[in-house]
């Protein structure tokens, strides 16, 4: 009897313990898994672009054209640093993770209060910016300027391991937000001041060991070839085709093309690579034989849809050289290549859709007038694809500049000089089927611009040159709401919904802002949605 009772008590206790273990592990499952990355829930933003497609489009609709006029500050977080925020925060389990070079902050997404802050000791390498972290399970992956990848515990910011992925002493530096695909942490590198090959590398998320490396160009010193093809922006991924898509940077020497005749593959290209093996599936070169520093690293946006009557798996890029390109992402065949602003350096398009560089527009000793300028018709700030209108909305920068190169400039690194003359910021809405600009919204002089986010409620969030954050009507480009933030938005907005409230998060200067409807407006919006759905 007693024995039986004890047995039962033991069994009960064990059950309670087991249940609590299961429960707590469910509660403790703070991390990112493959299904979250493939289909991110509304209360998450688990990777640089929000999802693998790079569309930077959200299905959230609480903030709508009707109520965006009420949008207000929910909270702001001051980094206290002079470094500008260029990262896209990740949001996982109610915590935002965002960066500037050598710094990560973990911040409560509901209140904006600090959970932890990691500061790396000062490193060598260019501190031009940092785009953010990647996340796998409960670990964060962070590149510091000197070519090292750190793995940190997302719960507390403790460093678990650190590996070198690029040699700072050769001239590489690292800024990009790693992309997690399966059990691969995929990283890219920067470095334009030396003749170095760019590459992609897959790192084992648990051990930091290199799994594969794909090189953009032959090794330095290979006769009559270019180096370069840096991989400094985060790519995208198609799980069904199991291909990652990545833009590669300009060739080196940068402005002097004499020592690197030909197209200089695979610089200024969009490449499709198998994430498990690092093998190249196809490549589409957006700027053959570039001599103007026009990296083709801008976001390769993946869209499934109709193109001239046929269902297509497409990849779209508004490239720095001024061309908007649409390619079939199963095979890299060009569907459309068309300028989306002033372009004066090409002789047109070849039969495969590549722009043909005009040799007369290569940098010269007495200067060449070139459009766009070196920053390009767009740069690293994300565009957005809105599926409802079929508009590809991009921060464009019509501009003119002078490019010089002479024998005395040599054939190493920059190898020339260029000077911007004039530029203008414009948010452009491109019809992906024709390249036609359906609307453009003036952003003001200079042209730093801001990243773009669209939502299913027909809103476009972006910023202008003066530090205004803007909410535009996606159909027309008309301003519906704005707020001065005191500095230009050097990053791209994100959005998420927590506790039934939609937030839009933007970084301007060194401050992260979270915008939301006032609680009563948010509740009203939800009530209206329920009524509408009944």
């Amino acid at each position: 009897m007693e024995m039986k009772f004890l047995k039962r008590a033991w069994f009960m206790a064990a059950s309670v313990w087991l249940a609590s273990v299961i429960l707590s592990s469910a509660l403790m499952a703070q991390g990112v898994d493959a299904s979250m990355l493939r289909n991110p829930p509304a209360d998450s933003w688990p990777t640089y672009h929000g999802d693998y497609s790079g569309r930077r489009h959200s299905r959230l609709t609480q903030i709508s054209r009707a109520n965006v006029g009420d949008l207000a500050l929910a909270w702001a977080f001051q980094t206290g640093q002079a470094s500008t925020l260029k990262s896209s925060p990740l949001l996982v389990n109610g915590i935002l993770y965002f960066t500037v070079p050598e710094n990560i902050w973990a911040v409560d997404a509901r209140s904006g209060h600090l959970i932890w802050h990691y500061t790396n000791p000062p490193t060598k390498g260019d501190h031009i910016g940092n785009r953010g972290v990647g996340m796998y399970k409960e670990w964060l992956y962070f590149l510091i300027p000197d070519g090292h990848l750190l793995c940190l515990d997302a719960r507390n910011g403790h460093v678990l391991w650190k590996v070198e992925v690029a040699d700072v002493n050769k001239g590489y530096w690292t800024t990009m937000a790693p992309l997690v695909v399966g059990d691969h942490v995929i990283i890219g590198v920067s470095g334009d001041f030396d003749n170095l090959p760019g590459y992609l590398r897959a790192i084992d998320p648990e051990t930091g060991k290199t799994q594969w490396q794909w090189d953009s160009t032959p090794p330095a010193g290979t006769p009559k070839t270019a180096t370069g093809g840096m991989t400094w922006m985060t790519g995208t991924y198609d799980p069904k085709l199991n291909l990652i898509y990545w833009g590669t940077g300009n060739p080196t020497p940068v402005l002097n093309g004499a020592t690197r005749p030909g197209d200089n593959l695979y610089t200024c290209s969009i490449v499709a690579v198998d994430p498990d093996t690092g093998k190249l599936a196809w490549a589409f070169q957006v700027s053959p034989h570039d001599t103007h520093d026009w990296d083709a690293v801008e976001i390769p946006v993946l869209v499934d849809g109709e193109f001239h009557g046929q269902p297509r798996k497409m990849l779209m890029q508004a490239s720095r050289n001024g061309y908007f390109v649409v390619v079939d992402r199963t095979n890299g065949k060009d569907l459309l290549s068309v300028p989306y602003g002033p372009v004066n350096w090409s002789l047109g398009i070849d039969k495969d859709g590549h722009p043909i560089p005009n040799p007369a527009k290569e940098p010269a000793p007495d200067g060449r007038l070139i459009a766009p300028d070196e920053g390009g018709l767009t740069n690293y700030r994300s565009p957005s694809f809105d599926p409802q209108t079929g508009l590809f909305i991009v921060d464009a920068h019509p501009s003119y500049s002078l490019y010089f190169a002479k024998a005395a400039d040599g054939n190493y690194g920059w190898a020339g000089a260029d000077y911007g003359l004039w530029g203008n910021g414009v948010i452009e809405a491109i019809d992906y089927k024709t390249g036609e600009i359906r609307w453009s919204h003036e952003g003001g002089r200079s042209g730093d611009g801001a990243g773009v986010l669209t939502t299913d409620s027909g809103l476009t969030f972006t910023g202008d040159e003066y530090g205004n954050m803007l909410a535009l009507d996606t159909r027309t480009g008309k301003t519906l709401w704005h707020a001065g933030t005191g500095a230009g938005m050097q990053s791209s907005p994100i959005t998420y919904e927590l506790d039934g409230r939609q937030y839009v998060v933007t970084g301007s200067g060194s401050v992260l802002f979270a915008w939301a409807l006032p609680l009563h407006s948010a509740e009203k919006s939800e009530a209206l949605k329920k009524t509408a759905s009944h």
């Binding site: 977080f77 001051q78 980094t79 206290g80 002079a82 470094s83 600090l114 932890w116 802050h117 990691y118 500061t119 000791p121 000062p122 060598k124 390498g125 260019d126 501190h127 031009i128 507390n156 001041f193 002033p342 004066n344 010269a364 007495d366 200067g367 060449r368 007038l369 459009a371 300028d373 070196e374 920053g375 390009g376 690293y380 700030r381 920068h397 003119y400 002078l402 010089f404 002479k406 005395a408 690194g413 920059w414 020339g416 000089a417 911007g420 003359l421 004039w422 530029g423 203008n424 003036e442 003001g444 002089r445 200079s446 042209g447 730093d448 611009g449 202008d464 003066y466 205004n468 050097q490």
Partner: protein, 298 residues
């Protein structure tokens, strides 16, 4: 018809969006504080994580030699490290020009600088109109950067031919007669400018790349704005600010005034926009010829 609409639109936009300094667009301008970036010889080797509910600053501790006892080459070396982290992206690793930033070796301001009396000010204030942010370097760090820049400059002088940049001699490929013809004809320059009026002696005031840049787009040109208030009162002044929400002017007394754009009527006169309209029309030869002609106006 469509083209005409586009031109009219462009002219209107040009008239509306006119700021005193446009060009420096630099989509990738570097911003970094030195305050938070001690130099390479920092003792700290591991990262610091703070777990707390407040944003206390966490600067790794490091020590610097007493500035009084600093040896100049050591100072330049420390400055070099700071330069690589914070300045090199735009100004080049050797300060001779990089992505978007000018060649400091050819900078007049650097040439005139004595022990940082001019450079320090630029570092503190930045040149926001040209895309350069202000930096919050300590006095020691400023001295180190200045030492580095001057050291680079003295080295550059030793290897003059190998520097990147544009010499006056590079910009002599044009034809004076063709330039004069373009000035009076196709370029339409003579509508606003005169070789004996505003441009008299222009080539004595500016030369080389600076002259050519000003010729193509004089980025300090001012626009004027006339604002009509609901009362019917009219104010005229130099356009000081204009975005899609606010218009600001500076009146004859130097006072700044601003209004929400939807509460007033305003019109901007921006003759410099004629330069923008020429960009798509120039051939490179037009530019070189025009440059040859302007260089005769001494």
């Amino acid at each position: 018809m469509k083209k005409l609409q586009a031109i009219v639109f462009a002219v209107i936009l040009g008239t509306i969006f006119c700021q005193s300094r446009p060009a420096a667009m630099y989509a990738v301008a570097a911003q970094n504080s030195a305050t938070n970036k001690p130099s390479e010889n920092s003792a700290a080797q591991t990262g610091t994580t703070q777990s707390s509910g407040h944003t206390e600053e966490a600067h790794p501790s490091y020590s610097r030699p007493d500035s009084a006892s600093v040896d100049p080459s050591e100072q330049a070396k420390l400055g070099g490290a700071l330069f690589q982290q914070n300045c090199a992206f735009c100004h080049g690793r050797d300060a001779a020009g990089g992505e978007t930033g000018p060649d400091l070796m050819r900078s007049k301001l650097v040439a005139q600088d004595v022990a940082g009396d001019k450079i320090a000010e630029v570092l503190r204030q930045g040149r926001p109109e040209k895309g350069m942010p202000p930096f919050t370097f300590s006095a020691t760090e400023v001295a180190e950067l200045v030492a580095f820049i001057h050291e680079q400059r003295s080295q550059a002088k030793l290897h003059n031919g190998s520097r990147r940049g544009v010499d006056v001699a590079d910009l002599q490929t044009g034809n004076v007669a063709a330039g004069k013809q373009y000035f009076n004809g196709a370029g339409g320059c003579a509508f606003c400018h005169s070789p004996t009026g505003d441009l008299a002696g222009i080539a004595s005031r500016y030369e080389g790349l600076e002259l050519e840049e000003r010729m193509l787009y004089p980025d300090d040109a001012k626009s004027t704005v006339t604002v009509t208030l609901p009362s019917g009162k009219t104010l005229k002044g130099t356009l000081a600010y204009l975005d899609e929400f606010t218009v600001g002017l500076r009146d004859a007394n130097g006072m700044y005034h601003s209004w929400p754009v939807n509460s007033v009527r305003y019109s901007v006169a921006s003759p410099v926009e004629a330069h923008v309209a020429l960009f798509p029309k120039y051939t490179d030869a037009d530019i070189h010829n025009l440059m040859a002609y302007l260089q005769t106006l001494r």
